[in-house]
Amino acid sequence: MEGVYFNVDNGFIEGVVRGYRNGLLTSNQYLNLTQCDTLDDFKLQLSSTDYGNFLSSVATEGLTTSIIQELASQKLYQEFNYIRNQTRRFNKKFMDFITYGYMIDNVTLMITGTIHDRDKAEILQRCHPLGWFDTLPTLSVATDLESLYETVLVDTPIAPYFSNCFDNAEELDDLNIEIIRNKLYKAYLNDFYNFISSELPEPAKEAMQDLVVFEADRRSINIALNSLQSEDIAPDLKRELLPDLGKLYPIATAHLAEAQDFETVRAIVGSVYEYKGILESGNLEDHFYKYEMELCRDAFTQQFAVSTIWAWMKSKEQEVRNITWIAECIAQNQREKINNYISVY
């Protein structure tokens, strides 16, 4: 019965998102891009896709991979904001939840930039546009996390996620900031999952749960692997950072917190069917991207679901990464590596 009233509020949005989805680059279009010899050819090939003439204002001499990535990303943000401006009620809250992850990144970026003696204007340019909030520039003036929270962050939507973060506020160095960031993200994922489970109707709930659960598992595996390279991270700390949801939670997560070497992590991750073999060969991040894209592609098979917004968003981000990679290979004349992109459409 979910389809009966869905289109009243969300029909237009789903129509727009499916239109955007149909504009995603296909395997044939990627093949055409990989056969370009120069960035000018690349620009010409992209003009025949949904990107159109987004590079028309850039002269041939000034065309670089950074500019291609920047302008492609801007197109993504414009489309996201267009959809966001059409939403209401729980869909608006859903779109807001998508932006909270970027807000967390921006907050940690501002704090990190301050301790790295960076100019505020420089850091603000690097902030993610979708995670922007009005009081973000004022984060550079506070001197410790508690005053940051009390003066600025308490009024932001991510304020509730700071409840467990003040233990690491003794001295804000790179490691402590990263720990705080991971704690914030853990709380955010839990909150997002609870919202999905309680507010979203089927089939969006099921699709989004799969996607958020995968995000949690990805973070767990990355934290477990990357922490092997640092001696400062005790098992108790790791346990605090690993998300409390996902296919790895609770048994595999508890073992990952105790793992001290790569072979142990590989055995633990291999015990979960979906991630079997993910650490055997190839690059881990590539495996994650492929799995995520397959989940996103499958999310579009469901009608009358707002999960298509998240799926389109992640697919578009992957597309920007892909075209940036292909452009880099063309610019560096590394043709043998040009086919290392992920395409599922």
Binding site: I115, H128, D144, F166, D174, L175, I177, N340
Partner: protein, 186 residues
């Protein structure tokens, strides 16, 4: 063998060595930039920023020193890891009676601190005078994401670029030898 032949042989040997080093440099640079591009691909935040000067820590003073030796005729250089000096340590001073109870950092005054924590810890540190914390060597890769978010491809890129440093040293020393031989011949 006459002196001229010896000089010519030296010159040829150094030119060959220079050529080989240049090829190795080119390969390492190519692999380094390729891995850097891959790291940008793997960086989930790369939509808003690529690994580069946007991430730099301006308070970082580097961990390599270049020593130029002009005393010998060939002007050689050597690049080695900088030794950490004791004066770089952070000192907790006993006579800080201010209500803010700040820790004085000689290198960097922009370290963010938790002021409330310092009020309780001050009484403990007052017992030991001028306690010096050990200086911890900082891997420059941590400015790109610290412990948890550095992709393996970025570490590979760092390895590639670090392997270039001894190559650069040898290249410059070889070039100076070539210059000396040709100048002496003239």
């Amino acid at each position: 063998m006459i002196e001229e032949d010896k000089d010519i042989l030296d010159l040829l040997e150094n030119l060959s060595k220079y050529n080989l080093l240049l090829e190795q440099l080119q390969n390492s640079m190519r692999d380094g930039y390729s891995n850097l591009s891959r790291a940008n691909y793997h960086n989930k935040d790369s939509i808003r920023g690529r690994y580069g000067k946007d991430y730099w820590d301006y308070s970082y003073t580097g961990n390599k020193t270049v020593k130029v030796d002009l005393t010998s005729g060939e002007d050689t250089i050597s690049i080695f890891k900088t030794k950490l000096l004791n004066s770089d340590s952070i000192e907790i001073k006993e006579d800080d009676q201010s209500s803010s109870n700040t820790i004085i950092d000689e290198k960097n005054d922009n370290v963010l601190k938790n002021r409330k924590e310092k009020t309780t810890s001050k009484t403990k540190t007052s017992k030991s005078s001028n306690e010096v914390k050990p200086v911890i060597e900082k891997n420059p890769i941590t400015m790109f994401g610290s412990a948890f978010t550095i992709p393996q491809s970025l570490r590979d890129s760092q390895t590639n670029f670090e392997s270039i440093i001894p190559l650069l040293q040898e290249l410059i020393n070889t070039k100076n030898k070539i210059n000396k031989i040709t100048n002496d011949a003239l």
